[in-house]
């Protein structure tokens, strides 16, 4: 099978180049990762990242024939020859198909991807109704491979400002979590012209997601929720209720009256 590989070793090469290579495959070689390991046997200077080899860890995300995907769950029989393999676009290349994902994880960490609940922890777990739990379906399954974020032009142009589809989907995963108590702060955290609103719904993220998730829908849900929150505030104001954060009394001449 014929391959065209992106090669770059910063210690040796001045600039990247494409290497054409033909590999003799065995019957047991079914997935692209199997072929890459054959190439590695032929040329041990070839670098590729991999771990679980079954689409769970997300380590072997790369650009396969122009579209991001995971090598371990991409069937060789589905690929057109020569198979052109490049590192994921938009991130610095460390070597060959291995990219530096620091920026990706910085963006991910910026959305505080962990449950924030200030109540005293219960003896067992924090419970949810089945309906509330169902809201997390299609969100928690993300394996953070980076295929979606690195196929997004908005991330290419503003990697340090736009959170990217993966980060935003994880943001919504906690915004939608009934156990989390920092929904308002999370929404506020995404309020600037870049972090959330650089998404223009071109849906590259949804197209490439190897787990068949829909980051675009999560991003749209965040925007909808922001509008819903503003409506709720408006209704609270009309009904004469105290606004959130001012429960327990009205303010008269700046003094809280209970």
């Amino acid at each position: 099978m014929k391959f065209s590989l992106y090669r770059f070793n910063p210690d040796v090469d001045k600039k990247p180049y494409m290497q054409d290579i033909e590999v003799v495959l065995e019957d047991s070689d079914v997935m692209l990762l199997d072929a890459l390991l054959r190439i590695k046997e032929m040329d041990d200077s070839f670098s590729v990242r991999k771990s679980c080899r079954e689409g769970v860890c997300g380590s072997d995300a790369m650009n396969i024939n122009g579209k991001n995907g995971l090598a371990c769950i991409t069937k060789l029989s589905d690929l057109q020859e020569p198979v052109v393999l490049r590192p994921m676009p938009g991130l610095p290349v460390i070597r060959d198909l291995v990219v530096d994902m620091t920026q990706f994880f910085d963006n991910y960490h910026s959305v505080m991807p962990y449950l924030q609940n200030h109540d005293t922890p219960p003896e067992t777990e924090r419970l949810q109704s089945p309906e509330d739990r169902a809201k997390l379906d299609g969100l928690y399954e993300c394996i953070l491979c980076g295929a979606c974020t690195t196929s997004c032009p908005s991330f290419w142009w503003n990697p340090d400002k736009f959170v990217g589809p993966a980060g935003l989907m994880q943001a919504y995963r906690f915004i939608a979590d009934s156990r989390d108590q920092e929904q308002d702060a999370r929404l506020e955290n995404l309020e600037d012209p870049y972090r959330l609103y650089r998404c223009h719904n071109i849906m590259n993220c949804t197209d490439v997601c190897p787990k068949k998730l829909n980051p675009n829908a999560a991003i749209a849900a965040i925007k909808d929720l922001k509008i819903e929150k503003a409506k709720e505030k408006h209704q609270d104001g009309q009904s004469g209720d105290n606004p959130p954060g001012n429960r327990g009394g009205k303010k008269i001449f700046g003094i809280k009256v209970i």
């Binding site: 503003n158 309020e191 609103y197 509008i227 505030k233």
Partner: protein
């Protein structure tokens, strides 16, 4: 107040929402325009003139142009911010866009309200 979404406190939301509302307004106008064209079936100059004769229709059309140009201005502004990192060059291009948008708006206003109906 939901109107708060259009204030400086929501810099991302107000641009996004403005662009969507403009698009919605344009969609409604175009639907009305098609209905009106079907209803009046203008076939010559006087027919088209009659279509734009009522003042309320000219006001609606003017509002359509404002929405379209605002929608375009916000879109091009985003594109320039993404693709042109050089600040001086971006400012110059933005200035050109601003002039073009204002020129288009004036031209639309002149055509709609300056003609001798």
């Amino acid at each position: 107040m939901w109107f708060e979404l259009f204030t400086a406190r929501y810099p991302g939301m107000r641009r996004w929402l403005t662009q969507r509302l403009c698009a919605l307004t344009m969609a409604i106008y175009m639907l009305l325009f098609l209905l009106r064209v079907c209803w009046l079936s203008p076939s010559d100059f006087s027919g088209w003139q009659a279509l734009f004769m009522p003042w309320w229709w000219r006001v609606l059309t003017g509002w359509f142009f404002i929405c379209m140009l605002l929608h375009a201005w916000l879109g091009v502004r985003d594109v320039l911010r993404d693709y042109v990192p050089h600040l001086t060059l971006r400012a110059m291009l933005q200035w050109l866009v601003d002039i073009t948008v204002i020129g288009n708006l004036l031209a639309a206003g002149l055509i709609l309200f300056g003609l001798n109906f």
